[in-house]
Every structure is written in C-alpha cells, then in structure tokens.
C-alpha cells in the first residue's frame, strides 16, 4: 500500500517537474528573429525608396504625364488595350514614370502595382489599375502621391507630348469633372511594392 503510494508520489512529482521544465523551455524557444523582423526591415527600406521615387516623379512632372497618358479615341491608357493596364516592361517603357519604376525595381526582384484613384461628383472614390503585376504579398508597402488636375491641363499622346485636347473638352477621360470651377479632379497615385 505504502509502496504504491510512494510510487505514485514519485511519478507525479517527476511529471510535475518535467512538465514545468518543458513549459518553461517551450515558451522561451519562440525565436523573435528570422521571417517577421527581417521582412519588416525590407518593408521599411522599400517604403523609403518608394517615397523618394514618387517625389522625384512628381517634381519632374513625370507623374502628371503618366496620369494624363490617356488615349482619348480609344478610352484607355496608350497601348494598354485590351486589359486597360500595363504589365510588361515593354509596355512600361513607353512613358517616363513606367521607366523610372522599372529601372528602380525590376533588377532587384521587386514587383510593383500602381493604382490611380479619382473622385466622383457625389463624393465617391473609384480606383483604376495603371500597372498590375499580380497580388501583392503580405509584406507589401504602399506610398501615394496626389496629382491635381485643372480644366485646361492637356492630355498626352503616346509619344508623351501634349496634345491639343484639354481635360474639360475630353469625353472619354476616366475621371469626371467634379467641380464647376477651374479644378477638374484630384487623383491619387498609389504604388504598391513588394518583394517577389
């Protein structure tokens, strides 16, 4: 009887000690590094470089030209028929902003999407794809820039030269004229960047 009690006692004691040790070790074994933190560093880096690229594009006017790179007769961005957006590097090299993105990111195995958002007269916001290269991963970053369009801004032709068509006389432009004064619309260009 006593022997059985002793055995049980010993067994239970051993189990308690063992399980508490295992618990302690198991909890501390959660490694804080590798995947999550290193990708966070890459995200920070990409965020900074995308901000810089967008600023350079906005300052040089390449961003506004990309937003107005619209084929009035067809109703799509130049050369983006039938999908309506650009995918390959060849298509991107037609306009300066596309070349800037391709030069900055393609060689480093980083993919990017560009979405153009515009406002409607009733206050809604719609988004249109300009460049689409697939679903972003979980560690993607975004950076954005606003482009103000006025009634007398001109659309650009496929050679990135201004055409004679002004925005307020265009019929097929994707964004509507939301205000009766000189302003046409304010467009948001959002670049999503992630590592492939």
């Amino acid at each position: 009887m006593r022997a059985q009690a002793h055995t049980l006692e010993g067994l239970v004691a051993g189990l308690i000690v063992l399980s508490s040790l295992l618990f302690a070790l198991q909890v501390t074994a959660v490694t804080p590094l590798t995947a999550s933190t290193s990708s966070q560093h890459i995200e920070n880096q990409q965020q900074a470089s995308t901000h810089g690229l967008l600023k350079a594009a906005a300052d040089s006017g390449a961003l506004k030209r990309a937003v107005l790179y619209w084929d009035e007769t067809g109703g799509y961005f130049h050369g983006s028929n039938p999908t309506g957006y650009y995918v390959s590097n060849g298509e991107l090299s037609r306009f300066t902003f596309g070349r800037m993105l391709a030069n900055a990111y393609d060689a480093r195995g980083i993919a990017f999407n560009v979405h153009v958002s515009y406002q409607l007269a009733d206050g809604g916001v719609r988004t249109k794809k300009l460049i689409y290269r697939g679903e972003p991963s979980d560690n993607a970053i975004t950076a954005r820039r606003w482009v103000t369009l006025t009634d007398h801004d001109r659309l650009y032709g496929s050679d990135e030269q201004p055409t004679a068509t002004e925005l307020n006389s265009s019929t097929a432009f994707y964004a509507p004229d939301v205000r009766s004064g000189d302003l046409y619309n304010v467009v948001q260009v959002e670049v999503v960047v992630w590592r492939m």
């Binding site: 002793h6 004691a13 302690a24 909890v27 501390t28 959660v30 804080p32 999550s36 600023k55 007398h152």
Partner: protein, 333 residues
C-alpha cells in the same frame, strides 16, 4: 528484557524515512527550480517584444506622408494659380478664382485621407496675395519690342524696372540657327540692379556655337559658367529653374544672388527668335513700361505672383500646421 522485536522494521523505517525525505527535498527543489525558470519566461518574452518593437521604423511613414501632403498641396495650389493667371485678365478676378478654389481643393484632398483617419484643413491666408505681371510672347518672333513708342522694334529694351523677384522665366528657341554665332553678338538678358552704374549686372548670353546652343552667364566678378545643348534643332531654357533642355545648369543658379529690386533688360533682341514668358513681382518701386507691350507681342498681363495658404494636418501620431508660400516657378520655392 527489552522488546526488540520491532527493531528491524524501525531501521527500515528510518532509512525509508531519510530516503523519502531526500526524495521530497528533490521534489521541492525541482519545483522551485521550475518556478525560477518560469519566472525567466516573462523576462525573455519582454525582450522578444522589444526586439519586435525595434524593427518598426519610427513614425517614418507618418512623417513622409506629412511631407507628401505638404508638397502635393503646394503643387496643387500652384497649378490653380497658373490656371487662373491665364484664364482671367484682371488681377481681382484671378485672385478671387484662386481663393474660391482653395476650399474645393481642401474637400478633394480630405476625401482621400478621411478613410485613413487623417484630417486636413486648408485655407487661404487673407492679405497674403502678391500682385505681379506676366510678360509673355506666345508667338514665335524675335525678341525685340518697341520701347520708345515710335512704332519700330528696338533690340534693347527693358521688360520691367525695379522688381524684387521673378519666377517662371522660360525661353524656347525652336531653331538655334536664328541665334548669333559669337558671344559678342549674342542676345543677352541683363539683370541690373542699378542701371546708372555698370559692372553690377548679371548677364545671360544665348548664342549658337557651331551647332550647339551656348548659355553663358557673366556676373560682376567675371564669368559664372556656361552650359551647352546640342540636342534637336532648338533649345528650351528655364532661368529660374536653372535648367537647359531639362538638364541642370549650375551657371543659371545666380538669381538668388541678385540683390532685391533689379531691372530686367533684353539686349540685341534681334539675334534670337522664339517664345518666352516671365512673371515678375510688383514691389514698392516696380514699374512695367507700357510701350513695349502696346502691340500685344509681347504682352504684359496682371498676374497673381504668389500667395500663402495655411495647412493643418492631423493624424493619430502627428499634428502639423504651417503656412505654405505658393509661387509657381520661383527659384527657391
């Protein structure tokens, strides 16, 4: 006789007891050790949490967005000012149009930020408008004008007298063969502080040196440098942005050094053909002569030189409020 029958059992009992006590000691010791290790866990967990915290950049993204909003707002109001200047003739109409568009811009910008939990407020700072004059030649012609009102164009004429600052000074020469071949004959733009004295001017020369347009700048201390452009048939020069055909030209970065209130003068205007425009600010002693512009080529119209808007941006992490001066095309804007 003593009763010794139970002695063997007692001995075993004692040994058993000491072993049992030892075992219990081990048990308690093991438990205590395990407890100690478990106490280690929150310490290390806290360290893990902080390591993770360490990877998050500082409000870097929030700060970058604030700067982006500031730059985009400045550019947007800038575009509206340039539009208004071209669309309306009277200064009062131009200013009223810009002021009417500022709340519209605010509503449009705020629409994008509302869903991000960011608030934006933009308003025009009353009394901050700066009147100016836009001098422009839109048709391709030589750079002469009738300065003395005798119906013949003069190659040397003053565009504006005693202006504190100019912006958006752009020239386009579609065909460089219309330029003179040497620097001595070259068409020149003179920024002269005091027309009565010589030697204090900055002069921009434009001439064609064997198929390449040369933009040379001379200052009071001698030459400030030159830039060449051999692409295409013509050249576009932006004096306030200091670029020649889109490329940066350090020699043209002299405008900051010109002391306030200077004349702008063209000399040998017959040795260049093209279009140009410049917007000058009307300061206390500025005067725009009327006779060169009487014929309409070039033309001098009222324009809004610049104004100030007040921006207020607020998100959960950052509050930012400042005045922003809008003067499209100014050298240091």
């Amino acid at each position: 006789m003593a009763d010794v029958t139970g002695r063997d059992g007692d001995d075993r009992h004692t040994t058993d007891r000491s072993t049992a006590d030892r075992a219990q000691m081990f048990l308690i010791g093991g438990l205590a050790l395990a407890l100690v290790l478990v106490v280690l866990v929150p310490v290390l967990n806290s360290a893990i949490y902080t390591e993770n915290l360490a990877t998050r950049g500082s409000s870097g993204a929030g700060v970058a967005t604030t700067f982006q909003v500031r730059a985009d707002v400045q550019r947007g109001v800038s575009d509206v000012v340039q539009q208004s200047n071209r669309k309306y003739a009277a200064y009062a109409d131009q200013l009223a149009a810009v002021r009417a568009e500022v709340p519209v811009l605010e509503a449009l910008y705020m629409r994008y930020d509302a869903s991000d939990g960011r608030m934006l407020s933009l308003r025009y700072v009353t009394g901050s408008d700066e009147p100016g004059t836009r001098i422009h030649q839109d048709a391709v012609d030589d750079f002469r004008a009738d300065a003395d009102g005798n119906s013949t164009d003069d190659p040397t004429w003053t565009l504006v007298e005693q202006t504190p600052v100019v912006r958006n000074f752009r020239l386009a020469i579609p065909n460089r063969t219309t330029l003179a071949g040497t620097k001595t004959d070259a068409f020149r733009i003179v920024f002269d502080r005091d027309p009565a004295t010589t030697g204090d001017e900055r002069t921009v020369f434009l001439y064609n040196d064997g198929g390449a347009t040369v933009v040379a700048v001379d200052g009071p201390g001698g030459s400030l440098g030159e830039c060449r452009d051999a692409t295409g048939a013509g050249t576009a020069v932006d004096v306030t942005a200091a670029t020649v055909e889109g490329e940066r030209c350090p020699a043209l970065e002299f405008l900051d050094d010109v002391p306030s209130d200077f004349d702008v003068r063209y000399e040998r205007g017959g040795n260049a053909t093209g279009t140009y425009e410049v917007t000058v600010k009307r300061g206390g002693s500025t005067s725009v002569p009327s006779s060169p512009y009487a014929s309409g080529n070039p033309d001098a119209n009222d324009a809004v030189y610049g104004l100030t808007v007040h921006l207020y941006v607020r998100s959960s992490d950052i509050t930012y409020q400042t005045d922003i001066r809008v003067a499209p095309g100014e050298a240091d804007a």
